[in-house]
C-alpha cells in the first residue's frame, strides 16, 4: 500500500516539476533593463492596440499591448508624475501590465499624463559577423492623459457571433472595467437557446433592468429586474428606454424584415416594415401608447428619455407602403427624422410631437438618440438610409448641444471626430456624462468591438480606446462580436441562474395592449429552429 502511495507521490512530484519546467520554458523570461549605449529611433513604436494619444479613465484596466517592432527583448517603462514607475520586460513584445501597480499609478495621477517608454533590443544594424552585438533602441514615448473623472465601473454588452440568426450561442455579459473580469448576466443556454438581446438600465444603475428574450421554447418576453427581484413580462420590448423615475419604460415594437445585398461589403440589411412606440408602467403592469407615437403612416422607433423625464426623443420616418410582407423598393430612401414629445409623469399626459432634426435637413437617416445624464448632449447616429446603423458602414456619431439649442432655438449638429469609415453605433453615456462607450467595426468591417471615448466639457470627443483585454492579441483572432455596450455603475446583482429560471418559468405578467402589434406574439414562431425575425446586432 505504502509503495503505491510512494508511486503516487512520485507521479505528483514529476507532474509539478513538469509544470514548473514548462512555466520556465514558456514564460516570459526576466529581461535586464536596457544597458549600454541606447539608440534613439526618433519615432514612436508601433503598438497594437494603438493606445496612444488618448484620454483614459483613471479606473480602467491595464492597457496591455503588443509592440510590433522586431526585436529579441522588450522593456517598457510606464510612469507619470507621482508614484513609482512600472517596468515590464519580456522577449515577445507582449506587454502585460500588473493590474495593482497600474491602478495605483492611475489613481495617483488623475489629470496627468502617463508615459510608455518603449525599448527594443535588436541586433546591431551592421551585421558584420554572425554574432552581431545587440543594442537597445529607444522609441519616442507613447503619451496618454489620465482623465480626472472616473468611468462607470461596469460595462454590459452582448457577445454574439458575427451572424446570429440561429442563436446558437449568445449572451449578455458584464465586464468590470477596473480589471478583466467578465461574467454572464444571462446567456441563452439558461433558457434552452434563443435570443437574449436588448438590455436597458435606468440611470446607469442596475436596480431597474429590462432584458428582452426570444425563445422558440418559452416564447418572447421581457425580463424585468426590480431591485433584487426579477419577473417576466409577456411582451417583447425591442428598443427600450427607462424613464429616469424608474416608474415606466418606453419601448418600440418593430416588425422587422431582413434582406441581403449581393455585392455590398455588409451582406445583411433590415427594414422595419412597421413600428410604433408604447410604454410600460411598472407599478400597474399596464402597456399603453398614445396616437402621437403610434401613427399608422409613420415608423416610430428608438425611444430615449431626457434625463429630466419631460421629453421622449425618438426617431420617426414616413411609411410609404401598405404591404407589410414585402421589402419596399424604396428601402434605401427610408430616412428617419429625430423628434421628441413632451410627457407629464404625474398626469400621464403626452404633448405634441416636434421635429428636432429632420432627415431632409441632414440628408441622412437619424438613429439611436441618447442624451447625456447631465442633459446637455444629444448623441446619435446618422447613416445613408434605414433603421439599423450597425449594418451601414456610413453610420457615424453626431452630437447636438441641447443647452445651446435651448438658447438659440436651433438644433445644430456636428459630426464627432472619433468616427471611422466603418459603422459606429450603439453608444451610451457614463453617469457623469464624461465618457461614451460605443460599437465600431473600424478594424475589420465585420467584427464589432467596443470603444470608449472621453468627452470634455465642451463636448469634444477624444481618440477612442479599444476596450482593453488581458491578452494584447485577443482581438487579432477574436471571432465574437461585441455590441450594445451600456455603462453602469454597479454589476447586475440578480444572478444568471435566477434570470434563467424566470425566463424558463411559466409565470409571466400579461399586458393588455390597445393597438395592433407590429411584431408577432410570443411563441407563434412557426419554425422552432429559427426565428421568423432576423436577429440584429
Amino acid at each position: 500500500m505504502r509503495r503505491h502511495y510512494r508511486y503516487l507521490l512520485a507521479l505528483v512530484g514529476l507532474l509539478c516539476i513538469g509544470v514548473l519546467a514548462y512555466g520556465l520554458w514558456s514564460g516570459e523570461k526576466e529581461q535586464p533593463a536596457p544597458t549600454g549605449p541606447i539608440h534613439a529611433v526618433g519615432r514612436a513604436a508601433r503598438i497594437d492596440p494603438d493606445y496612444s494619444g488618448m484620454v483614459i479613465p483613471p479606473n480602467i484596466a491595464p492597457l496591455d499591448f503588443s509592440v510590433r517592432e522586431e526585436g529579441s527583448g522588450y522593456y517598457v517603462k510606464i510612469y507619470s508624475k507621482q508614484g513609482p514607475p512600472i517596468e515590464v520586460r519580456c522577449r515577445s513584445g507582449r506587454i502585460v501590465i500588473p493590474e495593482s501597480s497600474w491602478g495605483r499609478l492611475l489613481e495617483a495621477n488623475r489629470g496627468e499624463e502617463v508615459y510608455f517608454d518603449i525599448f527594443v533590443e535588436r541586433a546591431d544594424s551592421a551585421p558584420s559577423s554572425p554574432g552581431a552585438e545587440k543594442q537597445w533602441s529607444r522609441f519616442d514615448s507613447v503619451v496618454n492623459r489620465i482623465a480626472r473623472e472616473d468611468i462607470d465601473g461596469f460595462l454590459v454588452y452582448r457577445r454574439i457571433d458575427p451572424a446570429h440568426s440561429t442563436w446558437r450561442n449568445m449572451g449578455v455579459y458584464q465586464r468590470n472595467l477596473r480589471g478583466f473580469d467578465e461574467s454572464i448576466v444571462l446567456d441563452n443556454g439558461y433558457f434552452g437557446g434563443g435570443c437574449v438581446n436588448c438590455h436597458t438600465f435606468c440611470n446607469n444603475r442596475t436596480d431597474k433592468v429590462l432584458i428582452g428574450i426570444r425563445s422558440p421554447k418559452y416564447g418572447n418576453s421581457t425580463l424585468l429586474v426590480d431591485g433584487l427581484a426579477a419577473s417576466k413580462i409577456d411582451a417583447k420590448f425591442t428598443y427600450t428606454s427607462w424613464h429616469p423615475s424608474g416608474r415606466l419604460a418606453a419601448y418600440s415594437i418593430n416588425h422587422v424584415s431582413q434582406f441581403f445585398h449581393t455585392a455590398q461589403e455588409e451582406v445583411r440589411d433590415v427594414v422595419d416594415l412597421d413600428s410604433l412606440l408604447a410604454y410600460y408602467l411598472v407599478e400597474t403592469g399596464e402597456v399603453k401608447t398614445t396616437p402621437a407615437i403610434a401613427k399608422k403612416e409613420r415608423l416610430e422607433t428608438y425611444p430615449a428619455w431626457s434625463p429630466d423625464g419631460r421629453y421622449l426623443y425618438f426617431c420617426s420616418a414616413p411609411k410609404r407602403w401598405t404591404d407589410k410582407t414585402a421589402i419596399p423598393d424604396s428601402f434605401n430612401e427610408i430616412k428617419y427624422d429625430l423628434a421628441r414629445i413632451s410627457y407629464d409623469l404625474e398626469s400621464d399626459k403626452w404633448g405634441e410631437v416636434e421635429t428636432v432634426l429632420s432627415a431632409q435637413e441632414t440628408g441622412l437617416s437619424i438613429m439611436l438618440p441618447r442624451i447625456s445624464p447631465d442633459g446637455r448632449w444629444l448623441l446619435f447616429c446618422m447613416c445613408d438610409y434605414g433603421c439599423f446603423p450597425v449594418y451601414r458602414a456610413s453610420s457615424d456619431l453626431y452630437m447636438i448641444d441641447l443647452r445651446a439649442a435651448e438658447q438659440s432655438g436651433r438644433y445644430e449638429y456636428r459630426r464627432l471626430s472619433i468616427n471611422s469609415n466603418q459603422s459606429e453605433s450603439w453608444h451610451s453615456f457614463s453617469s457623469n456624462s464624461r465618457w461614451i462607450a460605443f460599437s465600431s467595426k473600424r478594424k475589420s468591417g465585420v467584427f464589432t468591438r467596443t470603444y470608449i471615448s472621453y468627452l470634455d466639457e465642451e463636448g469634444g470627443a477624444f481618440k477612442p480606446l479599444l476596450l482593453p483585454q488581458k491578452d494584447p492579441s485577443y482581438y487579432d483572432s477574436c471571432l465574437w462580436t461585441y455590441s450594445v455596450p451600456e455603462l453602469v455603475c454597479e454589476p447586475v446583482r440578480v444572478v444568471k441562474e435566477d434570470l434563467g429560471r424566470i425566463a424558463r418559468g411559466p409565470e409571466k405578467a400579461s399586458v393588455g395592449f390597445p393597438v395592433t402589434m407590429a411584431t408577432p406574439k410570443a411563441g407563434t414562431s412557426s419554425e422552432p429552429w429559427r426565428s421568423n425575425l432576423p436577429e440584429r446586432e
Binding site: M1, H4, Y5, L8, D161, P162, A163, H164, S165, T166, R168, N169, G189, Y190, G192, Q258, F259, F260, H261, T262, A263, Q264, E265, V267, R268, D269, I327, F331, N332, K443, S444, G445, V446, F447, D471, Y474, Y475, D476, S477, C478, L479, E497, G500, E527, W529, R530
Partner: protein, 647 residues
C-alpha cells in the same frame, strides 16, 4: 509427514498446473485481444474511413473546435469536465486523417477494454471477463453509425482510468479482513476515494458518476457497506458541492456535463441510432450469455475429465486451445455482426461525398455518389464535380437530377451539408456564400473548414481586417495553420493578393453590382453573373443546366450563343440533345455558333422517337426500353422528368 509432504507436493503440482493454465489463458487472452484490436483498427481505418467525421458538415453536431494556445485552454478550466472536453476536442482534430482517427478510436477502445477487464478481475468476475469488449463494441457501433460521441467516451475513459488507479491503490486494504487494521484501511480508501473524486469530477464532469457507481459496486461486493455508502453519497454530493457551489454551474449541468442528456450532447442526430444501439447491446448481452454458457459447459466437461487430463497434459493444452479458438471465433462473430448490423451505409456515403467535395476531389465525389444518389445535397455535389471535371454538359443526365438541387441557396434555412455553399462561391455569388458560411459558423462552431472559406471570401472582397482575423484564428488550428500563415504573410507583402490565381479568379467572377433582395432567384443570379462577366463559364453552364432541368429548350437554344465567349469549339452532348428537341419540335433552324451537330445525336433522337412511337406514345410502356437504351440522355429526362437511369 511424508503423507502430508506427498499431499503438499501434489497440491503444489496442481497449483503449478493451475498457474500454468492461467498463464496460458492470459497469454491466449492477450493474443486474442491484440488480434481483436488490430482488426478493430483496420476496420475503422480502411472500411469505415473515419476522417469523414471531420468533414461532416453539420451532419454531426457538436464536433468540437480546437485552437492552440493558453486562452483556448483556459476556457476549459473554468468548469467541471472542461479538461476532459479539451482532451476530446484535441483528439477529435486527429480525425483529419483517417489512419489517425482509427488509431485514436482504437486506443480508446483498448483503454476501455483494459480498464473494464481490470475492474472485472478485481471483482473476481473472471467468467464475465468477455464483457471487457463491450465498451469497444459500443464504440464500434458509434463509428459504424458515423455518430460523434467522442467527448463522452473520452471522459468515460478517464473515469475508468481513475477507477483502475483507485482499485490498484486500495488493493491491499481488501486483504485486511477485520480489526483496526481494516478500519484504517477503510479510512484510507475513503480518503483516497474523495481525493480522486474531487480531481476526477473536475477533469471529467458527469462521467465521475460512473466512477462513484463502480466504486460503490466494488465496495458492496466486498460487503464494505460504509464504503459503499460513502461512494453513493460522494456521487450525489461532489457534483453539487464542486459543480454548483464552487464552479457556479447550474445543477442540471453539474450532474450531466459531458454525459448523454447534457445540453452539450446531441443524441438525436440519427433517429434509428438508438434503436440499433439498443439491439446491438441486447445482441452483445445475448452473445455474452451464450459464451458464458459455453464456458460452463466446457468447464463441466473439463471437470469430468479432470483426472484424465491431468495425466494427459497435451490433450489438456489442446482443450484450452480449442476453447480459445471457440471464444475468439464467437467474439469475432459478435463484432462482425455488430459492425454489419449497425453500419449506416447511406450516411457514410453522404459523408464521403461531402468529404471529397470539401477537398475538391471531384473524381472521388463522383465515385462516392455513384449513379443513384438522389438527395439534393448529393446531386448538388455531383453537378459541381461534373462541372469541375468538364463533364456537366455531357454526363449530367447519367446521374439523378432535380431542378431544385442545382443551386442550394440556403433560402430553406437548412445549413446542413454546408459544402453546398461552395457552389455559390465558385459561381461568384460571394455575398450569399459569406452569409451562409457565417451562419454555419454560428450553428456549427468555428470549424477550420468554415474559417478557411470565410477567410477566402473576405480576401476576395478585400476585407483585409476581417480576413486577417479569420486567418489568425485558423493559424491556431492543427491542420489548416500552414494555409493561414501563408496568406497572412502574403497579405502583409501584397494586401491586394494580385498574384494569387484563386483569389483573382474568384474576384473576376464575383458579382459587382448590388441587388437587394431576400434571395436571388437562380436564373436571375446566373444571368446577372453573365451580364457582368460573360466569360463566367460556371454561370453559363449552370444557366444551361437550369434551363434543361426546367425543360426550357427554347431558352437553352436562346442562350446557346453565349458559348462563343469561351473561345473553344466544345459542343456538349446534352446541349446538342436539347437543341435537337427544340429544332424537331418547332421546326425552326438553330444557329450553332460554328459548331456541328454530332450525327450520333441526330440518330439517337430518331431512334428515341421511333421506340416511343412504337409504344403508341405510351410513356409507361416505353419507359423500360427507353431507359435501357437512352437512360443517360436529355431525351429521356425531357420526356420522363427523371434521370440517372444507366444504359
Amino acid at each position: 509427514m511424508a503423507g502430508s509432504h506427498g499431499k503438499s507436493s501434489k497440491g503444489g503440482a496442481v497449483a503449478q498446473e493451475t498457474a500454468g493454465a492461467n498463464l496460458n489463458r492470459d497469454r491466449g487472452a492477450a493474443i486474442g485481444t491484440s488480434i481483436f484490436f488490430l482488426a478493430f483498427y483496420l476496420c475503422t481505418w480502411l472500411y469505415l474511413d473515419l476522417q469523414v467525421i471531420y468533414y461532416s458538415a453539420g451532419m454531426l453536431t457538436r464536433f468540437p473546435v480546437f485552437f492552440r494556445g493558453w486562452p483556448f485552454f483556459r476556457e476549459f478550466t473554468s468548469y467541471p469536465g472542461g479538461l476532459g472536453g479539451y482532451v476530446a476536442a484535441f483528439l477529435a482534430q486527429l480525425f483529419h486523417y483517417s489512419w489517425l482517427a482509427a488509431g485514436v478510436v482504437t486506443a480508446q477502445a483498448l483503454l476501455l477494454c483494459l480498464c473494464t477487464g481490470y475492474f472485472l478481475k478485481t471483482l473476481g468476475l473472471r467468467r464475465l471477463y468477455f464483457l471487457r469488449f463491450a465498451g469497444a463494441i459500443v464504440l464500434l457501433v458509434f463509428c459504424s453509425q458515423y455518430m460523434y460521441h467522442f467527448a463522452m467516451t473520452t471522459t468515460v475513459c478517464i473515469a475508468l482510468v481513475f477507477l483502475c488507479l483507485y482499485l490498484k491503490l486500495t488493493a491491499s486494504s481488501d486483504e485486511q479482513v477485520s480489526g483496526p487494521a481494516r478500519r484504517r484501511a477503510e479510512v484510507r480508501a475513503g480518503a483516497l476515494f474523495l481525493v480522486l473524486s474531487v480531481i476526477l469530477y473536475y477533469v471529467a464532469g458527469g462521467a465521475f458518476l460512473l466512477f462513484a457507481a463502480l466504486c460503490a459496486v466494488r465496495a458492496a461486493r466486498r460487503r464494505r457497506w460504509g464504503m459503499a455508502t460513502l461512494c453513493v453519497l460522494g456521487g450525489a454530493l461532489i457534483p453539487y458541492v464542486e459543480g454548483v457551489l464552487i464552479f457556479g454551474v447550474c445543477p442540471e449541468k453539474a450532474f450531466t456535463e459531458s454525459l448523454p442528456g447534457s445540453c452539450k450532447m446531441d443524441f438525436g442526430v440519427h433517429r434509428g441510432a438508438g434503436v440499433i444501439g439498443g439491439c446491438v447491446v441486447l445482441f452483445i448481452v445475448a452473445a455474452g450469455l451464450g459464451l458464458y454458457r459455453l464456458k460452463l459447459a466446457g468447464g463441466k466437461a473439463a471437470r469430468g475429465k479432470k483426472t484424465a487430463r491431468r495425466k494427459q497434459s497435451k490433450s489438456h493444452g489442446g482443450a484450452v486451445e480449442l476453447r480459445w479458438i471457440v471464444d475468439s471465433a464467437m467474439l469475432f462473430a459478435v463484432v462482425g455482426m455488430v459492425a454489419l448490423l449497425s453500419y449506416n451505409g447511406p450516411r457514410g456515403r453522404l459523408l464521403k461525398i461531402h468529404c471529397y467535395a470539401c477537398r475538391r476531389m471531384w473524381p472521388e465525389v463522383l465515385k462516392a455518389a455513384g449513379h443513384d444518389s438522389s438527395g439534393y445535397f448529393a446531386i448538388n455535389a455531383v453537378n459541381q464535380a461534373l462541372y469541375h471535371t468538364g463533364r456537366l454538359g455531357d454526363e449530367m443526365f447519367a446521374y439523378p437530377q432535380h431542378p431544385d438541387a442545382l443551386l442550394l441557396s440556403g433560402q430553406d434555412q437548412v445549413l446542413l451539408h454546408w459544402h453546398k455553399f461552395d457552389t455559390q462561391l465558385d459561381l461568384g455569388l460571394v455575398n450569399m456564400a459569406q452569409k451562409n458560411f457565417t451562419e454555419c459558423m454560428e450553428v456549427y462552431g468555428e470549424h477550420p473548414l468554415i474559417l478557411k472559406r470565410l477567410a477566402l471570401i473576405n480576401m476576395v472582397k478585400r476585407n483585409i481586417g476581417a480576413a486577417k482575423i479569420y486567418l489568425r484564428a485558423l493559424s491556431k488550428t492543427l491542420f489548416e495553420a500552414d494555409w493561414a500563415r501563408y496568406y497572412l504573410v502574403a497579405l502583409d507583402t501584397d494586401p491586394e493578393l494580385s498574384t494569387d490565381r484563386r483569389i483573382g479568379q474568384l474576384r473576376s467572377v464575383a458579382l459587382k453590382k448590388d441587388h437587394s433582395t431576400i434571395f436571388v432567384p437562380a436564373e436571375l443570379a446566373y444571368l446577372t453573373l453573365l451580364e457582368e462577366n460573360s466569360k463566367n463559364r460556371m454561370a453559363f453552364e449552370y444557366l444551361m443546366t437550369l434551363y434543361m432541368l426546367g425543360k426550357q429548350v427554347d431558352k437553352v437554344t436562346g442562350s446557346f450563343k453565349r458559348i462563343s465567349e469561351f473561345g473553344d469549339k466544345e459542343f456538349p452532348r446534352h446541349y446538342q440533345e436539347a437543341i435537337c428537341i427544340y429544332a424537331y419540335s418547332t421546326g425552326k433552324p438553330v444557329y450553332l455558333e460554328g459548331r456541328t451537330l454530332d450525327p450520333r445525336v441526330r440518330k439517337e433522337i430518331e431512334e428515341f422517337s421511333g421506340i416511343f412511337n412504337s409504344f403508341g406514345k405510351n410513356k409507361q410502356a416505353a419507359v423500360g426500353p427507353l431507359a435501357r437504351e437512352f437512360g443517360g440522355t436529355y431525351f429521356f429526362y425531357h420526356l420522363f422528368g427523371f434521370s440517372g437511369v444507366e444504359k
